[in-house]
């Protein structure tokens, strides 16, 4: 009972936050706090009750270790890659070189530089950009990150909202017309890269119908197309997985029992089939987040969305190594957190998942 109330309130709070952000309202800080406390506090209590504390702590340590390794890797790359802040055509006077070296902390011993770098990361300082003089990377990324997160969350929601119903309908009546059309959509969605879908959508919805905006990221009319295009491929993957999962569940013994008891089809679908068949879908959330992250590179490029991926692509041609590596760290952190949340949620939802 208490779990249900908690789950419902997390869902409502999450929906409120998403809706507010979608319609470009300012989200009150108090709401953020409430959401975080309810979501994380509730999870913590639940984890403790279920005796999963050790598992979660171990996963947290593993995640922290992965972040440290990746940070070390980015540091090594930063020092090894040729070219740098003073890599210009003109030969600079030695005094200027020394000043630049001091500014970018290149004059300290290597190990000291490493410690400073890691210490900076812990304080949330990703260093200085080579290209945008006097701007630190943290501010560049924290300006663009909300846009990317918004895009990613909308796309994830779109893919669940499209993919799960399609998969359920398809799997509930296999080989029916619904099934065939859903699966045709799904396989086409997997085969069509977003850079083909996006121009077609722009042509239809912007040029012909005039409903949405084709570029930038400034309000609901700007959000719809990118999130749809980004969500299609994951939606197709989810639809296929959900269908498979539903098919497996409806052939299981407990569904036969439920049918034999004479339960209504609706009850069987919602109470028995859905709950069990959505667990594999939930556990796919981590890989899906990775897929959406990948897709966002092309989407941010096509729709000119000022997000982290666009900065990363731009900084590759600028050879702005600190910005590239900063974005790498942010993306990796994002993926690690997404996988962590997925694993913990799966373990909470499915008691059969072994804590090995």
């Amino acid at each position: 009972m208490i779990t249900r109330v908690w789950g419902l309130s997390v869902a409502i709070l999450f929906a409120t936050v998403v809706l507010l952000s979608f319609f470009a309202y300012e989200i009150p800080t108090a709401l953020w706090w409430l959401f975080s406390i309810v979501a994380f506090g509730g999870t913590a209590v639940f984890v403790f009750q279920q005796g999963m504390t050790f598992y979660v702590i171990r996963r947290l340590f593993e995640a922290a270790f992965a972040v440290l390794v990746i940070a070390t890797l980015t540091f090594i790359l930063l020092r090894v890659l040729p070219g740098g802040p003073f890599d210009s055509d003109k030969a600079l006077p030695p005094e200027v070189m020394a000043n630049l070296a001091a500014k970018y902390n290149l004059d300290a011993p290597l190990f000291q530089q490493y410690l400073d770098y890691i210490g900076g990361l812990l304080r949330g300082d990703l260093g200085q950009s080579y290209k945008y003089i006097s701007r630190d990377i943290t501010s560049i990324i924290s300006e663009s990150l909300p846009n990317s997160i918004q895009l990613g969350v909308y796309a994830l929601l779109v893919s669940y909202l499209i993919g799960i119903p399609m998969g359920v309908f398809a799997g509930w009546k296999p080989n029916s017309a619904v099934d065939v059309s859903c699966m045709t959509f799904a396989i086409s969605g997997i085969a069509l890269p977003s850079f083909l879908v996006a121009p077609i959508f722009i042509l239809i919805f912007v040029k012909t119908l005039g409903w949405f905006e084709p570029a930038l990221w400034e309000g609901p009319a700007y959000y719809v197309l990118p999130m749809l295009v980004l969500g299609i491929r994951p939606a197709a993957v989810i639809a296929r997985l959900t269908r498979a999962s539903v098919l497996e569940v409806i052939h299981s013994d407990y569904i036969r029992t439920a049918k034999a008891k004479g339960l209504a089809a609706r009850t069987i679908l919602f109470k028995h089939v859905l709950r069990n068949s959505l667990i594999p879908v939930l556990s796919l959330s981590g890989p899906l987040a990775a897929a959406i992250l990948t897709g966002s590179f092309v989407i941010e490029q096509i729709f000119a969305i000022p997000g982290v991926a666009k900065h990363l692509v731009l900084s590759v041609s600028n050879r702005d190594y600190p910005l590239i590596l900063g974005a790498t760290l942010v993306f990796s952190l994002f993926l690690i957190v997404a996988n962590l949340i997925t694993d913990i949620l799966t373990a909470i939802v499915d008691p059969r998942v072994k804590m090995s």
Binding site: E62, I70, L81, S188, P193, A198, I324, F331
Partner: protein, 312 residues
């Protein structure tokens, strides 16, 4: 497909398949595959695209970078079947050369990641214990860097150290290196899982008790029995790598014009979809058909190797 003959299922034939006398498991898988129409058609399509790519210099009516400045941006005609682009280059020729790049990327990365992934996964699964945890933990860490970011980083390092002069070869090698590095990981996981499973089988124990060395057991007894899932995964990885190549080229981080790949062509064409749709349509259809074919063939192979998975 010839690949199917290499393999057999790791599980005993499912009850639904029914006992067919005088047929090996590989033969049964092949029969099931050949009964699957969409998989057969897909296989033919893939062979065709590979052939077109391999014979590009013979088939293409013009060189991929030859410009006809008096015939810029013309729609499809008898002279240029798919029209010309904004620099007067023949689209059909560029598409054919693009097929060459895309297929080469798909197949070569699949082979490299097969070699690395199988080796790594087999070692990890066979030795188990301490070595296994270290090896799998490192794979996990590598996996937590998003592959597109890893692709960009590898390309960055590769480009920074100027080793190869030829720009096309350089871009291509960088891409192959990057894609192989990101795609062997999932293969290693699958191989390890399979090795862990098969290791417990009594025929492995029998081989060991007869004094077969570890290398011999792995190569002669375990590998042939786990090839099914590996081939299926590879078939799905090829389109994903082709897609990554076109992604990177589309973003301007892969091959650059005048060289041609489907991603380069799509990047050239998408902005002018309304005025010059032929620039977008031909690479678009090519990518779509190739991706569809690989995915359908992958589905077919999976069903053939593991009939219980049919329709998943």
């Amino acid at each position: 497909m010839s690949t199917a003959t290499l393999a057999s299922t790791s599980s005993p034939p499912a009850a639904s398949a029914g006992p067919k006398k005088g047929k090996s498991l590989q033969r049964e898988a092949l029969d099931r595959l050949l009964k699957n129409k969409s998989a057969v058609v897909s296989g033919v399509v893939i062979l065709f695209v590979c052939l077109v790519g391999a014979l590009a210099p013979v088939l293409a009516p013009y060189p991929f970078d030859e410009q006809f400045l008096d015939r810029v941006l013309i729609p499809p005609s008898s002279q240029h079947w798919l029209g010309t682009d904004s620099l007067g280059r023949d689209m059909l020729s560029r598409l054919i050369y693009g097929a060459r790049i895309s297929m080469a990327v798909g197949v070569i990365t699949a082979v490299i990641s097969l070699l690395i992934g199988t080796f790594y996964g087999a070692i990890s699964g066979w030795f188990g214990g301490w070595a296994d945890s270290v090896m799998m933990r490192s794979v996990d860490i590598l996996d937590s860097i998003p592959s597109i970011v890893l692709l960009i980083l590898v390309k960055l390092v590769f480009d920074a150290f100027d080793v190869i002069g030829n720009p096309e070869l350089k871009a291509l090698t960088g891409m192959l290196l990057a894609l192989s590095l990101t795609s062997w990981v999932s293969l290693a996981r699958v191989v390890r899982g399979q090795v862990l499973q098969v290791k417990q089988m009594s025929y492995v124990e029998a081989a060991r008790s007869m004094g077969a060395s570890g290398t011999r057991v792995v190569s002669q007894h375990i590998m042939p029995n786990i090839m099914g899932p590996v081939i299926v995964l590879l078939t799905f990885q090829i389109p994903s790598n082709i897609l990554y190549e076109s992604f990177l080229s589309f973003l301007g981080l892969g091959l650059q014009p005048p060289f041609s790949s489907w991603g380069v062509l799509a990047n050239d064409g998408w902005r002018s979809l309304q005025s010059y749709p032929h620039l977008m349509i031909s690479p678009g259809v090519a990518i779509f058909v190739a991706m569809l074919a690989f995915n359908l063939l992958g589905d077919g192979l999976r069903d053939a190797f593991d009939p219980q998975m049919r329709g998943r």
